[in-house]
Amino acid sequence: MPPSPFRRFAAAVALVLGSVLGGTTTAAPLTLAVARSPMALPIFVAEAESYFAEEGLALRIIEAPTGRRCLQLMAEGKADLATAADTAVMFESFERNDFVVLASIFSTTSDAKLLVRPAAGIRTPKDLEGKRIGVVRGTSAQYFLDAYLLIHGVDPKALQPVPVQPENAVRLLQQNHLDALAIFEPVAYQAITAMPQQLVVMPDSGTYTQTFNLVARRSLAGAQDAVLVRLLRALQKAEDLIHEQPARAQAVLRSRLGADQAFVSWVWPQRAPELSLDNGLLKSLRNQARWAIREGYVAARTAPNYLEFVYPAPLRQVQPEAVGLAH
C-alpha cells in the first residue's frame, strides 16, 4: 500500500519545518550508505513509508553492494552513516576508529551460503580441499566460509580462495572459474537462479549468527544524538510495520531490490528484524577479531576494545529494553 497523501503531506511539512527551524535537526542532510542486502529491509521500509521524513530527518540514502563498501564510503567521507555486517565492522576496526555501532538491526543464521558445483566433485565439506572457492574478502562471507570449514574439520588454507565481488561472482561461476562460492544474499539467490542445475547449497545448521548493524561516524555520537534517536525511531517504526504487515514490507523489498516474490520467499527471514545492542555483538566482534589475527588476515596482534566501538545512548533512549549493555 502506498503512503497515504496525508502522511506524505505531514512528512513534507516536517521536512520544511526541520529545514527552516534548524535547531536539533542537521542543517545539511545526512547520507546513509546502505548495503544492497535483504537485511537492510528496515531502512528500505522506513524510506518507503517516509518514516525518516516523519521524524524530521533529512536523510540521503546511497547504496553499495556490501557493508564493507558502505564503510569505505563512510571512511571516504561520502557517507555519515552506513550499514554493515559484524565481520565488515570487525575488519574496519583494525583500520580506523572514527565510527561507532549504533545498533544491530537484523540478525540471522541464513544470509551467508556456500554454493558448490557437484560437478567439481564436491559432496562433503572435505571435498572442498584444493577447490577454487570464490569469497568476498572482508565480508561476512569470508568468516562464514572459514568457520564452516573449521567446524567441519577442513583447513581453510587447503582451499584455493578466489577473491570475488558481488558484481562478478555469478559470472565467475558461470564461466567455471569457481568450484564453489561463499556468498550472501541476494547474490546467492541470483547464482542459484542463474545456474539451477549446476549449483547446490551446502547444508548448514547455522554456522554463525550474523548481525547487520547501523554504523555512524564517531563525530555524530554525542553531537547529533537527537538525529540518531530520530533515525532509530524511524527504524523502529519500520520494524513494527515489517512485523505487523509483512506483505507490505515484502512489496518494499521487491521494488527496492528489483526482485520477484520467489526471491522474497527465499530470503524472508524466520525472525523479524529487531533493534538491539548486546554483549553478544561485542563478543562476536572480538571472536572474529581473534579469528582474523589467528588466520593472519590482519597484521595486528591484538583485538581492539569493541566497547569503544558501540554507542548505545540513542537506542537506549528509543528502546531501552533493546540495550543489553551495562551502563
Binding site: S107, T109, D146, A147, L150, I151, G153, D155, S205, G206, T207, Y208, T209, H243, Q270, R271, A272, E274, S276, D278, N279, G280, L281, K283, S284, N287, R290, W291, R294, E295, P320, E321, A322, G324
Partner: protein, 660 residues
C-alpha cells in the same frame, strides 16, 4: 420513549458495559499474567544461558569429563526452560530460533568435544579456538536474546499492568458515567414528574381542587399525570356537586324545626343544623369541636350515654331527655339512627332532637288535671260515668268498682247491657233513650247489685255537640237509700201525713180504737168509710207524682169539708183515705155522708191550670158497739170498697147491706 423501555435499555446497556468491562479486565489480567510468566521464563532462560557461558569457559580451560557433563546438563536445562511455555512476547519464530540456537550449541560442543585432546596440531588448535569462540558467541547471543526477551516481557508486563489499571478505571468511570447518566435521566424523567405529582397531590390534600400537573409526555408518568389531572377534575366536579348537595341538605336541615346532628364513632359532633345551634346557644364553630361529653356536661351525658352508645352499636333508639343546663325545665325527644358506612360498619350516628317542652308541659298539666279530677270523682259518693251514643261505657269513677265490683278500666268500651246486666239495663233504658235524644233526665229508682239494694237518684245530662248531636251522656247516680230509710222511719214516727196534713195510719189506728171504745160506752153507732181514688196510678203515670201529690192534697181537703169537726179523716197510704163517723143515730147516716163526698169530688180539680176529673169509690162499715176489732171493721170496709170498685167506681157500698 416509555420509562419502562428506557429502564430496560439502561439495564441492558449496563449489563453489556459491565460484561464488556469484566471481559476486558479479565483479558488484561490474563495478559498481565502471561507477560509475567514470559518474564519469568525469559529470566530463567537467560540465567541458564549465563551459566552455560561460564561452563563453556570452564570446558575450554579444563577439557575434562566433569566440565563436559556440567555443560551438557546446563544445555538440557536451557532447552527445557525454552520448551516451558509458548511466548506471547516473542514470535514463535524467535522461540524457535532460540531452540535452534540451543541445538546448534550442542552441535558445536559435540565437535569441540570430539577434537582429539592429544593432537595439538595447528589445525586442531585453530578449530578449537574457533569452536570455543563460536560457542561463546552463540551462547552470548542467545543470552542476549533471552535478556532482551525478559526486558520486553517486563515492559509488556508493565504495559499490561497499566492497561489493566486503565481498563479497570475506564470501566468504573464508564459505569459511573452510565449510573450518573441514568440518574440524571431518571431525575429528569422520573423524579421531576414525580415531584410535580407530589406537589399536585399535596395541593389537592390541602384542598386546592384546581391543582393540575399538565404533563404532556407520552411515557407512563405522563399518562399517570394525565389520569391524576382527570381525577382532580372529576374530584373538583364531585366536590362542587357535593358542596351544592351539602348546602341543600344544610338548608333543609336548618329549616327543620328540630335539631339535626351527626356524631362520629368517637362521639364528636360532625354536623349540627341551625336549630340545634340555637337551642344549645352556641355557634356552629364551637359545637363542631366538642365531644358529646363536653357538649352535654358530665351529668347529662351519663343519662344519655346508654342510647348514644347503643346507636353507635347499630341500634336505632329514641329517648326523652331533660337537660339540666337550662335555667327553666326543657324537654327533648331524641331519635338516634346509626350511620352505617358502605361496609356496613357504624361510622357514627344521626340524631334528631325535638324540643317537646311545651307539649310535655301541657301533657303534664293535663295529666295532673286528670289526676285531680279522678281523685275528686273517685272520692265522691256517687257513680259518675260517661256513656257514649253507642251505649258503651267511656268513663266510670272509683264508685263504679264499689257498686259493681268491676274495675272501670276493664269495662271501658263495653256496652252498658253487658256491664250491668239486662235487668238493670231495662230499668234505665227509657231514661237513657230520653237523654240520648238530648233531654236532661232526673229520676229515682231502686236496684239491686251485688245483692245490695240501693235507692238511687239519677241524673242523665246529654253531651250535646255544637252541631246539636249527642255524643253521649254524663250519668250521675247518687245513693239516697239511707235518706229514704230515714224518711220512712220519720214518717212512721209522725202521726200526721206530711202531704195532706191529715192524721196518718198511726194516728188513725189510735183514734179508731178510741172511737170504738167510746161507741161501746155510749152505745152509739160508729161508721168507718174506706176511700180510694179511682185510677190514681193512671194520674201518676200520666202527669207525674207532683200532680198526683197535688190531687191527694185537694182530695183530703175536700174530704174535711164533707164531715163534722168531730169526725176523723186520715190518710193511710198512697190514695187510701179513712173517715171515722162517731155518734151516728142511724145506720143509713154514713151513706148520706158517702153521697156527699162523691158529690164533693165530682167537681174538677184545678192543678197547674188543668181541670182534672177525679172520682172516688167508698166502702162503708158500721160498728154497733159489739166485740168487733178495729182490724175486722177495717176489713169489712175494705170489702165494701172492693164492691164499690166492682160496681163501676164513683160510688159507695155499705158492708151491712152486702151481708144482708
Amino acid at each position: 420513549m416509555k420509562i419502562r423501555t428506557q429502564l430496560l435499555a439502561a439495564a441492558l446497556i449496563a449489563l453489556v458495559v459491565g460484561l464488556a468491562a469484566c471481559v476486558s479486565i479479565w483479558h488484561a489480567a490474563a495478559q498481565e499474567d502471561a507477560a509475567e510468566q514470559q518474564q519469568q521464563q525469559a529470566q530463567a532462560v537467560a540465567r541458564e544461558l549465563s551459566g552455560l557461558l561460564a561452563l563453556t569457559h570452564d570446558f575450554a580451560r579444563e577439557r575434562d569429563p566433569q566440565s563436559e557433563q556440567q555443560w551438557r546438563q546446563r544445555q538440557t536445562a536451557v532447552s527445557l526452560a525454552l520448551t516451558a511455555h509458548d511466548s506471547v512476547v516473542l514470535d514463535s519464530t524467535e522461540i524457535r530460533a532460540l531452540r535452534d540456537g540451543a541445538a546448534r550449541l550442542t552441535l558445536l560442543f559435540d565437535r569441540l568435544a570430539d577434537l582429539p585432546p592429544a593432537d595439538e596440531s595447528a589445525l586442531v588448535a585453530r578449530r578449537r579456538e574457533l569452536l570455543v569462540d563460536q560457542l561463546l558467541t552463540d551462547t552470548q547471543g542467545m543470552a542476549d536474546s533471552a535478556y532482551r526477551w525478559a526486558r520486553e516481557a517486563s515492559l509488556m508486563r508493565s504495559e499490561s499492568e497499566l492497561r489493566h489499571k486503565r481498563i479497570t478505571l475506564l470501566a468504573m468511570a464508564l459505569l459511573m458515567l452510565l449510573i450518573a447518566g441514568q440518574a440524571a435521566l431518571g431525575f429528569r424523567r422520573v423524579l421531576a414528574p414525580l415531584r410535580a405529582l407530589s406537589v399536585a397531590t399535596e395541593a389537592l390534600e390541602r384542598g386546592d381542587l384546581g391543582a393540575r400537573i399538565g404533563n404532556t409526555r407520552s411515557d407512563e408518568l405522563g399518562s399517570l399525570s394525565r389520569r391524576f389531572d382527570a381525577m382532580a377534575q372529576a374530584l373538583s366536579e364531585r366536590t362542587t356537586q357535593l358542596e351544592a348537595a351539602e348546602r341543600r341538605i344544610r338548608a333543609i336541615a336548618d329549616n327543620v324545626p328540630a335539631g339535626v346532628v351527626h356524631v362520629d364513632g368517637e362521639q364528636r359532633l360532625q354536623f349540627a343544623n341551625a336549630e340545634f345551634c340555637r337551642s344549645m346557644g352556641l355557634p356552629i364553630e364551637r359545637l363542631l369541636s366538642l365531644s358529646m361529653r363536653e357538649l352535654l356536661g358530665e351529668q347529662d351525658y351519663e343519662r344519655s350515654r346508654g342510647p348514644i352508645e347503643a346507636a353507635l352499636r347499630g341500634q336505632a333508639v329514641s329517648f326523652e331527655s331533660a337537660p339540666t343546663r337550662f335555667s327553666r325545665p326543657r324537654y327533648f325527644y331524641n331519635q338516634l339512627v346509626p350511620d352505617l358506612g358502605a361496609d356496613g360498619r357504624v361510622a357514627g350516628a344521626y340524631a334528631l332532637v325535638q324540643d317537646i317542652t311545651e307539649r310535655k308541659l301541657a301533657e303534664m298539666e293535663q295529666a295532673a288535671a286528670k289526676r285531680r279530677l279522678r281523685d275528686i270523682t273517685d272520692s265522691l259518693p256517687a257513680l259518675i260515668s260517661y256513656i257514649g251514643s253507642d251505649e258503651r261505657l267511656q268513663f266510670a269513677n272509683g264508685t263504679f268498682k264499689t257498686w259493681m265490683g268491676l274495675e272501670p278500666a276493664q269495662c271501658i268500651g263495653k256496652p252498658l247491657i253487658e256491664i250491668i246486666g239486662p235487668e238493670l239495663y231495662a230499668q234505665r233504658k227509657p231514661y237513657l233513650d230520653q237523654a240520648l235524644r238530648g233531654e236532661r233526665v232526673s229520676f229515682e229508682l231502686e236496684s239491686t247489685a251485688l245483692e245490695v239494694h240501693r235507692h238511687l237518684k239519677n241524673e242523665y245530662i246529654p253531651d250535646v255537640q255544637k252541631d246539636g248531636s249527642v255524643a253521649g251522656i254524663y250519668a250521675l247516680s247518687s245513693d239516697v237509700t239511707a235518706m229514704k230509710l230515714v224518711e220512712q222511719h220519720l214518717a212512721q214516727l209522725a202521726r200526721i201525713d206530711t202531704l195532706t196534713g191529715l192524721p196518718n195510719r198511726r194516728e188513725f189506728d189510735e183514734r179508731l180504737a178510741a172511737a170504738m171504745s167510746r161507741a161501746r160506752r155510749s152505745r152509739r153507732l160508729l161508721a168507718l168509710l174506706f176511700l180510694d181514688l179511682d185510677r190514681f196510678k193512671q194520674i201518676n203515670d200520666t202527669f207525674g207524682h207532683a200532680v198526683g201529690d197535688e190531687v191527694l192534697k185537694i182530695f183530703g181537703h175536700r174530704l174535711l169539708t164533707c164531715v163534722r169537726e168531730t169526725d176523723t179523716v186520715a190518710r193511710l197510704a198512697g190514695d187510701e183515705f179513712m173517715v171515722v163517723l162517731e155518734g151516728l143515730n142511724t145506720p143509713a147516716e154514713p151513706q148520706l155522708v158517702a153521697g156527699k163526698i162523691i158529690e164533693a169530688m165530682s167537681r174538677p180539680f184545678d192543678i197547674e191550670d188543668r181541670a182534672m176529673t177525679v172520682s172516688t169509690s167508698i166502702g162503708i162499715a158500721v160498728y154497733e158497739g159489739n166485740a168487733e176489732t178495729p182490724e175486722a171493721l177495717t176489713a169489712r170496709a175494705d170489702g165494701a170498697l172492693y164492691e164499690a170498685k166492682r160496681a163501676g167506681r164513683n160510688t159507695y157500698r155499705d158492708a151491712e147491706a152486702l151481708t144482708a
